[in-house]
Symmetry: C2
Subunit: 122 residues, 2 copies
């Protein structure tokens, strides 16, 4: 069973972290056929941690885990910390095969979003 895990940095502002949980919730409307399990977690500061989120996916019966790094830039967090933490946590669930997608900032669609923000009123 496939699980999708969104991972963001984590902020000290709860409203900011809530945005990620809300996005994961919205994705359940769009992607429940492809990913019966959709969860979110944080690299640092906020909870659930990456390890907690992966445990949660495994407890729901996940056998394939697709991780989407919700980061704009491929800094150290994306290139090193996130894969290391995902692989360490997934190591406790031998039934789980893991793949890590490109960070969202790598999408060519980001260009459209910047244009939309630039031209919006307000």
């Amino acid at each position: 069973m496939k699980a999708l895990l969104l991972i963001a940095h984590g902020s000290r502002r709860p409203e900011s972290n809530d945005e990620l949980a809300q996005l994961a919730w919205q994705l359940k409307t769009d992607m429940t056929d492809q990913f019966p399990i959709i969860e979110s977690g944080f690299l640092e500061i906020a909870q659930p941690s990456i390890a907690q989120a992966i445990d949660h996916c495994a407890a729901q019966g996940a056998t394939e885990l697709r991780v989407v790094p919700y980061f704009l830039a491929a800094g150290r967090h994306v290139s090193k910390d996130l894969p290391a933490m995902v692989n360490a946590a997934a190591g406790h669930h031998p039934q789980l095969s893991v793949s890590i997608a490109d960070h969202v900032g790598a999408s060519v669609q980001m260009r459209n979003i910047v244009q939309e923000c630039a031209l919006a009123q307000g």
Copy 2:
């Protein structure tokens, strides 16, 4: 004359910072009619700083500055630090009227990007 300024957090990895300059460069293809001046800058760690980027816009004759925060989450950086630094820097250029757009993470299109990343091969 209108200027568009993209502001990202800034990373210790030069490749990561280069992504922002590249995005600003690509936007010149799309938006040069609306924004004859397009620049990018960083909140911290990397250069140009916000103040340097705003000086650079003003030196090119900008009278209207549209700032797009290139951040996913509305954390303290977006809600407090960025507006404070933009307003302080713009204060040195009385001819400049400034507006700050929503951060890119607030766009409803982010949901499509996560789906694209989740379903991509590799």
